[in-house]
Symmetry: C2
Amino acid sequence: MSAAALEFWFEFASSYSYPAAMRIERIAHARGVPVVWRPFLLGPIFAAQGWRDSPFNIYPVKGQYMWRDLERVCAKEGVALRRPTRFPRSGLLAARVASAAADEPWLAEFVRAVYRANFAEDREISEPEVIGAVLKSLGVAPTIWLGRAQEAAMKDRVRQQTEAAQARGIFGAPSFVVGEELFWGNDRLEDALDWYLHRR
Amino acid sequence: MSAAALEFWFEFASSYSYPAAMRIERIAHARGVPVVWRPFLLGPIFAAQGWRDSPFNIYPVKGQYMWRDLERVCAKEGVALRRPTRFPRSGLLAARVASAAADEPWLAEFVRAVYRANFAEDREISEPEVIGAVLKSLGVAPTIWLGRAQEAAMKDRVRQQTEAAQARGIFGAPSFVVGEELFWGNDRLEDALDWYLHRR
């Protein structure tokens, strides 16, 4: 089974997607592995499992562990973390912008900047003002891309991506796909890269 | 915060506890870290979260992923795996024997042999005949230890260990505890060892 790239499936609301998003391009590039960025939404996937909130909120003991573990993971990676005052924040708008910008050279930097806004700067990424400020900081015209994000085609694209994730057996984020092989969790990134290089 | 040892909290029914149990002694010994084996039961902890079965059965998509991921993890570690025809199997009897044998030199080998019986040999570890055969293979008298496992003190000990796990914020297995620090999952063993050596 040959895979053209490592697919990085992420959700802007997802806490463990944050360190994955911050490190994937650097690590994959160093090993010569191309990455395709696949934003999707966990909400509909969690809803299908009967959850109307993050499992980290539904199961507080697990949530408490996650925040401590995330501190350790981020410290190890040298990634800044400030626990958001609201969790999870809707990643819908950011996912639509990322889908619209799929072929733009600033896509990866946009994704990282949104994650930083959410998990290091405690900013409300569901608000157009915040996403607009992120776009502006990248030298990109906010009005154009916020406009594109609201087009029906972009709304469809995010919905289709989410359906594709579900069809693929994805149940959490971050997930990595190499051909037929699925890897779940920031701590499986290295395994996914190994798989791409040796088994695809 | 000083920790005398790395505590290894495991449940004989737990799939990811299997590779952890098979490798922990070797890896910890190589790094000079003492290990304390802490058998406990996930059932009461899951029940407190509203689950009456393994989450890998309740959420089949997650279960399907787990079995594939476990294949990869075991292959990487050189650990044999045959998917059990029944999952989860009750680890209660084995946990009682392990509690009774807490100070015996054959404890670690007993734990590994029970995991192999469950996850490599597809044997019914809830049955006294199977645990008896495991004990016998270690050169230990089955009747004595199966007898001790049924003593009220041993039943209490497993119950107390499970309550202690819950009090400690443990919500899954395997878990590793170093002083105040909790690590969850086979893939956190190296982090737990690092913590013991550098941060305790």
